[in-house]
Amino acid sequence: MSETKQRQQTPMVPYPSKSFVPERDLGNIPVLECNHLGIEFGGLKAVDDFSVIMGRTEIGGLIGPNGAGKTTIFNLLTKVYQPTHGTMMLEGKDMGGMTTVDVSKAGIARTFQNIRLFNNMTVEENVRIGLHNQIRYGMFNGILRLPKYWKAEKEQHEKTLELLSIFDMAGMADERAGSLPYGAQRRLEIVRALATSPKLLLLDEPAAGMNPHETEELMENIIKIRDQFQIAILLIEHDMNLVMGICEDICVLNFGKIIAKGTPAEIQANPAVIEAYLGKRKEAEA
């Protein structure tokens, strides 16, 4: 763990009444600001009073027991569900009234807990879908194969290989996405999300199904991505090694409510978190 401790060099500073952001991000507008965000499904409050703030280059963690509402928060942030309460701001811009497509264009990209790749398309085509709004040309350019088509296609191809090489996947560019091994599919989803050139990357259980060695590699890569692209990353993960190792700020959720916020060290010592995960010690027990 000594190695992981070295990674956290920037001290965390409190942001008025919300959370903590890394000191290096203080001068900038926070990338994400949620105020009292909530959603009700017919009376059931799946997420309630969710308020956080994320710095420009912060790696944040969202943890909690199963069914705590973590993925629901991702769905709210990407507007797969429309929130019934509260507001969200992306770089100070209100996200009310945006659709999922608008959110992607505004700069939030995500991966999915149950992998959602375009299975019948190749690895390269999957990444090119991510580049859809980055390198554009119209339908008629495509049908008539005008010079713009060749130029943009070449640009897309080069960019794709460049992005794939982050995870050493450039050699798999021509393979069918559905036939990749599980770990590679997870990595491809991250590359595809990165292709949309996001400001905030949401990773839903990126290490699920990976062995300890692969997880270690993933941790290195998440930090590499943050440093290289200068983006904020918010991740949901059950692997505590990963969460405690790379997250600078952690938010713990239980039954849709935030029960604790803080740095990894604070979270590990928080009695409410321990109770949520392990249950309360029986008083009667002698």
Binding site: F118, N120, M121, T122, E124, H132, N133, G142, I143
Partner: protein, 350 residues
């Protein structure tokens, strides 16, 4: 694994075989060594190929089951007949090639507009509901055409709904359809239309827009999270297919001396769907082969007289069973594997 290279080879082979067939058939026509029935079928075959390719764009590439494709063909056919008749009677345009070209273009444009209008409500639906509503729209188009009368008087077009008392020469005669159509469609025009639709569809599939269409088919939520406007791309596929169907219709209409609106019923939509399914959903070259084969087949089965359609149905079932039989698949794979290259195996599945 379907690589870019194998895809390019499949495309090149498709274009090459089509051009070769066209040359051979043209030589045979000039030598008069072709049977009368086959010669008469060449233009309809071209139309049905375009229909199958365009429906495959909707069903295979965009992944929406549309059961009203013949309706767009009907719109194209009658638009083409009206435009051709109008140009001939009103403007004394004698040149059949130019008239055919303008008729096909008009057929495509009007069918495309109809496709857009129908697409707006229909593409909000998914799955079975979309299929049912497209079926209904196909029937509505057919029934509306059954009531429309159009005549040309000098340079003005007159039209009436349920009312055939119009001045001038009648081009469309309500339920009697189009009569005394000048058949100006040629096999060369048909071939050019097939090549045109093939280029449009294949180039579309292998472009940014085509990838977006396929992404929306494969995973709706993921495509939206990648910033793809699903409705826009579903619409793009649907309207492109309608335009091509309208062009095919104009070609078809101008190859027949008489044409009834009831021709473009639900039955024909299903027929085109059979071409697509038999050729392989999403497989464009397959659609061409099956459309051609299944247009010729019923004629070849004429010797069976009353049992013709029964035999046709049984043959279809047999082909479906055989093409899905693991033994047959293995045999085919073995034959192609001996050749030792992955590409040819890919063509089978492509």
């Amino acid at each position: 694994m379907k690589t870019k290279k194998s895809r390019l080879i499949t495309q090149a082979v498709t274009y090459g075989v089509l051009i070769l067939l066209f040359v051979i058939l043209t030589i045979m026509i000039n030598n008069k060594s072709i049977s009368r029935t086959l010669k008469g079928q060449l233009i309809p075959i071209c139309s049905w190929i375009v229909m199958a390719v365009s429906l495959n764009l909707v069903v295979g590439i965009s992944g929406e089951l549309s059961l009203g494709h013949a309706g767009f063909m009907g719109i194209g056919a009658f638009t083409g007949i009206i435009v051709s008749g109008w140009l001939l009677n009103g403007f004394q345009m004698e040149d059949p090639t130019l008239r055919l070209l303008l008729a096909i273009l008009a057929g495509g444009i009007i069918a495309g507009i109809a496709g857009m209008l129908i697409g707006i409500p229909v593409l909000r639906l998914r799955g079975d509901y979309l299929a049912i509503v497209t079926l209904a729209f196909g029937e509505i188009i057919k029934n509306v055409m059954n009531c429309v009368y159009v005549s040309v008087d000098g340079q003005t077009l007159n039209w009436g709904f349920l009312d055939g008392n119009l001045p001038g020469t009648l081009l469309l005669n309500g339920p009697m359809g189009a009569v005394k159509v000048k058949t100006i469609a040629t096999f060369t025009a048909g071939f050019i239309l097939v090549m045109f639709s093939l280029i449009v569809v294949l180039n579309l599939i292998n472009s940014r827009s085509g990838r977006a269409i396929m992404a929306a088919r494969d995973n709706r939520i993921a495509a939206e999270s990648m910033g793809i406007n699903i409705t826009k791309y579903k619409m793009m596929a649907f309207v492109t297919a309608s335009v091509l169907a309208g062009m095919a219709g104009a070609l078809y209409g101008l190859s027949m001396a008489t044409l009834l609106p009831t021709k473009f019923s639900f039955n024909e939509s299903i027929n085109v769907l059979v071409f697509v399914v038999l050729g392989g959903i999403g497989n464009i070259p397959g659609s061409i082969v099956s459309a051609a084969a299944l247009t010729i087949l019923p004629e070849k089965l004429r010797f069976l007289q009353n049992y013709r359609m029964l035999a046709y149905a049984i043959l279809l079932i047999l082909v479906m069973l055989l093409s899905n039989n693991p033994m047959v698949k293995m045999l085919v794979r073995k034959i192609f594997h001996r050749r030792g290259d992955d590409e040819s195996r890919e063509e089978m599945r492509a």
